[in-house]
């Protein structure tokens, strides 16, 4: 059984492996880093740990839009810790191996998009955030 954290960005649903998620947070202040990549929003302080905040929207061709219910997800992949910004966290979803499918043709070549599964008639795309932006 695979466990995922399902979240939304715009109108679409995405998921992260639960094992990669350290914490889901209400955003604190983000301090910009001059002369960094445009998708790097800045640095945030989570109880003394200073982490880069990354907007993965542009990699998913999601338009930027204002929502008030943003969340920060602290993601750990190997030694690298980043915080990604999402619109809304839906919750944790258990998916059986059989229900995990290859992504549709149009996104198979996109690195960082691992698999898809169906959840209440919505297609949920499993992402690997670091591969996505790296």
């Amino acid at each position: 059984m695979n466990e995922f954290v399902v979240f939304t960005l715009g109108d679409r649903k995405y998921a992260l492996a639960l094992s990669q998620v350290v914490e889901i947070l209400t955003p604190g202040s983000v301090y910009p880093i001059p002369d960094s990549e445009p998708y790097v929003l800045g640095l945030t302080n989570i109880r003394g740990s200073i982490l880069p905040v990354v907007d993965i929207r542009s990699f998913l061709s999601e338009p930027e839009r204002q929502t008030n219910t943003k969340r920060h997800i602290w993601v750990r992949w190997g030694n690298e810790d980043i915080v990604i910004v999402v619109d809304r966290v839906e919750g944790i979803k258990r998916v059986s191996e059989d229900d995990l499918k290859q992504p549709p043709e149009d996104i198979t070549n996109h690195k960082g998009l691992e698999e898809v599964f169906m959840s209440e008639n919505d297609l949920v795309v499993v992402i690997d955030p670091l591969a996505l932006v790296g």
Partner: protein, 684 residues
């Protein structure tokens, strides 16, 4: 013993320590073959290594360590200078040991230890038998090793004695008799730790008709004396006890004579041939192991942070103070008494300072940690290159932060290699130049203010700046007319440019500069700087300045467009608000400061910040030897900051880390040199 794995990390660490120790003492012995301390040190280390390896079940390693002991044993016993060939063999065995320890570390199977070609021993025989024709005496020359063993034994309440055994004139199997004496010593609760002449000579019957054995143990010397006297063809035994103070050797024992009892057995002779095997067994006896354990305990702490108790105590009391002060603070806040709040703040501040100082001290490690492997490296390299090098190390006890130590090895190896490879000339060339055929490379470390300086100095051929300059012109780095304005120092700095220094031609013509840019970068990443001085024909000096610690630094906080940045105070020369002194020139803005013309950069432009910026302050920064003026909107003040490393691909290179300010704001710590490097053309 499957739980041995638990000890593997300690075994590895200690083995490397001992290998370093052995290498360095062998190098010392090579320089001075009569150095008894170095020889004793080699013995001690080889012996401990043997014990450790055997305990861990790495027999080939134990065998090799034993071979190392054997190769040098006779010199220890005879107090003769160690033959060069024996040292050479020592190095070879040690290289084998190092390879095997590496294999242990990598989880590979050990290569069998093959006895090294011991032509060495053949040669060294010439030096042996020093005692052969010496008159009988109760004196026994204690080496450092013996002295130590004797002292330890006496401290543990054991007895130490010198036994002089006289055999009958014309005795046939002297070696067998000697062996039987040794056996009697071991059978009676003693251990033979040295003999005159040495064990090998005794075995080969290379002695007149008497010998002396130094013993320690718990047995009864009188019983032992009787036992020895009972050995066939022993005519006299004299026992001299060694006092605790070691100074006076009491000689109150009697000489006795007893009728020889004929008990010639052929079997004994065979046993004698196996004496080394028995000796080996003996070295695994309980007493020996306790000694090894003691040695190990002495060294084991190296694997961990060695923590002086007073630092912990002091840290503890600072924390207890803080706990009290916190409680008082709560009361003071409720009462709202401004005065007591202020005085409380002062006290808390003091406690934090103490805690900070102590915790920093705990992270300090002596530089000898990295220096230790250099003598051997320098020796090997100079041999390989046919150079004669005198290597001097100073200040290995200088302490620096652990995190810096760990990354210091490679840059230092690099600089030392350069000094030997490109600095020091071949002996014949040095003689031609009127110099001592042996060149000197000096590695020096010292502590000054908040910095540690490491200096590598050679008296080699130095850098030919004219050749460097023509190369720079050829590469288009500088125009012909600009070139004439450059100082020697500025010319030498070309060597630090990437690509420039790695070019093989330059290293041939100037004798310098392989990968100097890489070296410089590493030192700068550690928050330090590099300076290179050279005089053609006289030598080159490389000066590395490193911060004592990377965790906490003094920084100048500056503000640009509402963002606060931290500049390490070590790069800040001075601060001025005379922005009108900045003059525009076609090459960009410059600042004339006490006759010096400095390039001016605007921090907001360097950081590619958009929008209007009114710069009110000038910060003169020193980046290596280069000075520059940095324009900022505002200076916030000087502050001690705790740097949190920010190693992430999402963070630009100019960011050395981040720090949390008092109000929870994140401030970026700027690495000035990498900031200026990438934006050399952005002028303010």
């Amino acid at each position: 013993m499957d739980d041995m794995n638990e000890y593997l990390p300690i075994f590895l660490q200690e083995s490397y320590d001992y290998i370093n120790l052995l290498n360095n003492n062998l190098v010392l012995l090579e320089q001075d073959p009569g150095n008894k301390e170095a020889l004793a040190e080699v013995f001690r280390a080889a012996h401990t290594l043997k014990g450790m390896s055997a305990t861990m079940g790495f027999q080939p390693l134990a065998d090799a360590s034993h071979a190392l002991e054997s190769a040098l044993q006779m010199y220890r016993d005879s107090h003769q200078p160690v033959a060069e060939s024996a040292i050479e063999l020592g190095f070879k065995v040690l290289d084998y040991v190092e390879r095997q320890v590496k294999r242990v570390e990598d989880g590979e199977v050990l290569e069998p230890f093959e006895q090294m070609p011991l032509d060495v021993q053949g040669e060294s025989k010439e030096h042996s038998n020093p005692m052969e024709n010496q008159p009988a005496s109760t004196e026994f020359n204690l080496g450092v090793y013996e002295e130590e063993v004797v002292r330890t034994a006496l401290e543990q309440g054991q007895k130490a004695s010198i036994i002089r055994v006289v055999l009958e004139p014309g005795v046939l199997m002297k070696g067998v008799r000697a062996f039987m004496v040794f056996k009697a010593i071991e059978d009676n609760g003693f251990e033979a730790i040295g003999s005159e002449p040495d064990a090998e000579s005794l075995e080969k019957e290379e002695f007149e008709n008497e010998f002396k054995v130094l013993i320690v143990g718990n047995g009864d010397v009188n019983v032992l004396r009787d036992k020895i006297l009972r050995i066939a063809e022993v005519s006299a035994v004299e026992v001299t006890e060694i006092n605790a103070n070691m100074s006076g050797k009491r000689s109150d024992s009697s000489q006795e004579r007893e009728n020889p009892i004929a008990e010639k057995t052929v079997a004994v002779q065979e046993e004698a041939a196996n004496k080394t095997a028995i000796k080996q067994e003996k070295e695994n006896s309980p007493e020996k192991i306790t000694m090894e354990e003691q040695d190990q305990q002495k060294k084991a702490t190296r694997n961990y942070i060695r923590v002086p108790e007073e630092h912990v105590e002091s840290l503890m009391s600072a924390i207890s103070e803080l706990v009290l002060e916190k409680a008082e603070l709560e009361l003071a806040i409720r009462s709202g008494n401004q005065e007591s709040l202020l005085s409380l703040f002062e006290r808390i501040n003091r406690s934090i300072n103490v805690a900070q100082t102590e915790i920093t001290a705990l992270r300090m490690t002596p530089l000898s940690f990295v220096f230790e492997r250099f003598p051997r490296m320098v020796r090997d390299l100079s041999r390989e290159l046919g150079k004669q090098v005198r290597f001097i190390m100073e200040g290995g006890d200088t302490e620096i932060d652990r995190t810096i130590i760990d990354r210091l090895g490679d840059p230092l190896v690099h600089v030392l290699r350069n000094a030997i490879d490109h600095g020091i000339e071949k002996p014949e060339d040095r003689v031609k130049a009127g110099k001592d055929p042996t060149g000197t490379v000096k590695l020096r470390a010292y502590h000054e203010g908040n910095n540690v300086y490491i200096v590598v100095e050679d008296d080699g051929e130095g850098v030919d700046t004219s050749k460097v300059l023509s190369k720079a012109i050829e590469k288009g780095l500088v125009s012909q007319e600009q070139a004439s304005y450059l100082s020697q120092e500025e010319i030498i700095n070309f060597l630090f440019l990437p690509g420039f220094s790695t070019s093989t031609e330059i290293s041939e013509i100037s004798g310098r500069g392989v990968g100097l840019d890489v070296f410089k970068n590493t030192v700068e990443e550690l928050g330090g700087s590099v300076q290179l001085k050279s005089v053609l024909g006289k030598g080159t000096t490389v000066i590395m300045r490193l911060p004592l610690t990377m965790a906490i630094i003094s920084a100048l906080l500056v503000k640009v467009q509402d963002l606060v940045f931290a500049l390490p105070l070590s790069v800040v020369e001075e601060i001025s608000n005379d922005v009108d002194a900045v003059k525009e020139t076609p090459q960009g803005d410059v600042l004339l400061l006490r006759g010096e013309l400095l390039p001016v950069y605007s921090l907001s432009k360097l950081l590619k910040l958009q929008g209007d910026n009114k710069n009110n302050h000038i910060i003169v920064i020193k980046n290596g030897q280069k000075k520059a003026a940095l324009l900022v909107a505002e200076t916030v003040g000087k502050q001690e900051i705790v740097i949190k490393p920010l190693k992430s691909r999402f963070v630009p290179r100019y960011v050395d880390g981040a720090t949390l300010l008092g109000d929870g704001t994140i401030s970026l710590v700027i690495n000035i040199s990498s900031l200026l490097e990438g934006y050399a053309n952005v002028r303010g």
